[in-house]
């Protein structure tokens, strides 16, 4: 029988037809990518000592003749077990048995004996953290050249047995890319945080101020004998707590195992938001030759919006539309409006203003009302008018009893003197909204 090239193509295609993107791939990549950037910057700035400063740091030795095998000396593999159950041989035996069974199922190449780094009691039952050396030490990051040195995971109680949580790779660059904490317990209400020698702060609740800024109260995590056990409000559909090294920030936030099942229930990918960007008339005069790139610089690296972002928190992308509007104010400044939203909380529209070449600063913010004829209605200070936005709608306004004047579609900046706004949605009658 002859099998043509086309048949081979079809076979390979069909053998992979069952594959779909892993849930939360994009978010996971971005999160992991950021950690890599941070780690890389640390290494470039201060040398490997930065990574080695943590208790997991180690030393590589290359035995002759085996390019894919190194000896990695690290306290993480060798130090005595810490925690209040460190001397409990029964618990240790159960932990190691659970670990061996788990590894047998996923077929990882390991060598030597597994090591219980920490073992202790928590309100969610006995728990542990286990690590074992990998059989080989291939380079797993390029161009950094980090080598795989082992595998590690939290072990937690589930009813009357022990369950190994996510088995993660450990590299010689340190544990910054690994989960340093685990969310455990039937109610997802216990946080187990390992002590790597660096200060960690914790905030249990996400709250917002009247202007939409994130209000968190952080307190230091107090470690005892290698770990800290924190009680948190039950994490049901969102992650409300934040856990971060200092200073608090996205780059310092700790990775927490056990959050994925809450952010992506039943492994489902949730709908991505629609990214809406609208340009107001005259914007090019202040936003330059490549306005979209310039706008993105402010949206993506939002120092001015820092107070509105939940630095240190863990969230998935919301499925509501994300709006960006940019233009020019009546006094010639750059105007940027951006919506910010977290799952389970209202979206906020935030307006920023600033002269060309200077940082923008927040001048107004207001909750987005998705059910209103005009979901975004944001009065600007200094008599600069009102920014309005409604996807697909046509806007008009009038000054006192004057004639209606067209103001464009989707988004508009109506002057301060306008007394009425006319909104014509794509599929419906026009309505009039008083502006004063």
């Amino acid at each position: 029988m002859t099998i043509s090239d086309g048949d081979v193509r079809g076979v390979l295609q069909r053998a992979t037809d069952h594959l779909t993107d892993p849930p939360g791939l994009l978010d996971g990549v971005r999160q992991g990518g950021r950690r890599r950037v941070v780690r890389r910057r640390s290494v470039l700035a201060a040398g490997l000592a930065v990574a080695a400063a943590a208790s997991v740091g180690g030393v590589l030795r290359y035995p002759g003749g085996r390019a894919n095998r190194v000896e990695f000396a690290s306290p993480l593999f060798d130090q005595p077990t810490r925690g209040d159950l460190a001397g409990d041989e029964l618990h240790r035996g159960r932990v190691l048995e659970a670990w061996r069974q788990r590894l047998a199922r996923i077929d990882l190449g390991v060598r030597g004996e597994p090591h219980v780094v920490w073992a202790g009691a928590t309100p969610a039952g006995a728990a542990a953290y286990v690590i074992q050396r990998s059989a080989e030490n291939p380079v797993v990051t390029e161009p950094d050249g980090d080598r795989l040195v082992g595998f590690a995971a939290f072990v937690t109680s589930l009813e009357d047995r022990l369950k190994v949580m996510t088995v993660e790779r450990v590299t010689d660059a340190g544990m910054d890319g690994n989960s340093q904490a685990a969310l455990i317990g039937d109610g997802n209400d216990v946080l187990l945080v390992l002590d790597d020698g660096r200060p960690v702060v914790f905030s249990p609740e996400l709250r917002f101020a009247a202007d939409g800024k994130v209000r968190r109260t952080f307190r230091p995590v107090v470690f005892q004998n290698g770990a800290a056990v924190l009680e948190v409000p039950p994490q049901r559909t969102t992650i409300t707590f934040a856990l971060s090294r200092t200073p608090v920030g996205a780059r310092n936030s700790l990775r927490v195992d056990g959050t994925r099942k809450i952010l992506f229930p039943e492994g489902q990918n949730l709908p991505e938001p629609t990214w809406l960007t609208h340009t107001l008339p005259g914007a090019n005069a202040v936003w330059g030759d490549d306005p979209e790139a310039e706008v993105r610089r402010y949206v993506d690296e939002p120092d001015a919006l820092a107070g509105y972002n939940d630095e240190g928190g863990t969230h998935r992308v919301d499925s509501r539309p994300v709006l960006t509007v940019y233009g020019v104010s009546a006094d010639g400044r750059r105007l940027l409006v951006q919506t910010i939203q977290y799952v389970g909380h209202p979206a906020w529209a935030v307006a920023l203003l600033g002269p060309v070449g200077s940082p923008l600063r927040v001048v107004a913010s207001r909750v987005v009302d998705p059910d209103a004829a005009v979901p975004v209605r944001l009065p600007l200070p200094d008599g600069l008018g009102t920014l309005v936005a409604a996807e697909g709608a046509a806007f008009g306004f009038r000054l006192r009893s004057g004639p209606w004047q067209d103001a464009g579609r989707d988004a508009a900046l109506v002057p301060a003197g306008a007394v009425e706004l006319r909104v014509t949605p794509p599929n419906g009658p026009a309505s009039t909204v008083p502006l004063r």
Partner: protein, 174 residues
């Protein structure tokens, strides 16, 4: 919030991750390993986005090949798992499952560069020059790897009874 990689990076991941996952799966023979590999590679792309944004797929493909090679070398020194353990994925038609296991087993029997050449040429439909760039070898070597790999893959498929050729070259199954 997006960051400085912006919508461009997001679009790349959204539009190309499915194809890259297929390649990763055929190179590793394991769905979970393929997903891990894909995530590692995309994180690498993320880190170097400014440098590779004009050719992100070529960069990602090459990284995928290199990383899969080191995994393959590690795996090749250990006993193979039972085929049934390879990919306990969602329920599927029996013939599809059998075909998948057959393909994975046949690819697994190939040396890494032969496997990569076949996958890139016949799954991704890349030109010989593009495969040479991905494998960092000459076009002649690509032709050689492809021909040898393809011969062995054809032999495995022909003996299975799962693949019947069609008269045109569009590929087909019955």
């Amino acid at each position: 919030m997006r960051d400085s990689r912006g919508a461009e990076f997001d679009d790349f991941v959204r539009t190309r991750s499915a194809t890259l996952l297929r390649v990763a799966y055929l190179l590793t023979g394991d769905r979970h390993e393929a997903e891990d590999l894909l995530q590692e590679v995309l994180e690498q792309v993320y880190v170097h986005w400014r440098r590779v944004r004009t050719v992100p797929e070529a960069y990602a493909r090459r990284a995928l090949i290199n990383r899969a090679a080191s995994r393959w070398r590690r795996r090749s020194r250990r006993p193979e798992r039972a085929l049934g353990d390879l990919d306990p994925s969602a329920p599927d038609g029996t013939e599809n499952v059998l075909l998948r296991e057959l393909v994975i087993a046949a690819l697994r029997a190939l040396p890494h560069r032969q496997r990569a050449a076949v996958v890139l040429r016949f799954l991704e439909d890349l030109s010989v020059a593009d495969v040479a760039a991905a494998l960092d070898c000459s076009e002649g070597a690509v032709k050689s790897h492809t021909a040898r790999g393809l011969a062995r893959l054809r032999a495995a498929l022909a003996g299975s009874g799962l693949v019947l050729p069609v008269s045109n070259d569009s590929g087909g199954f019955r």
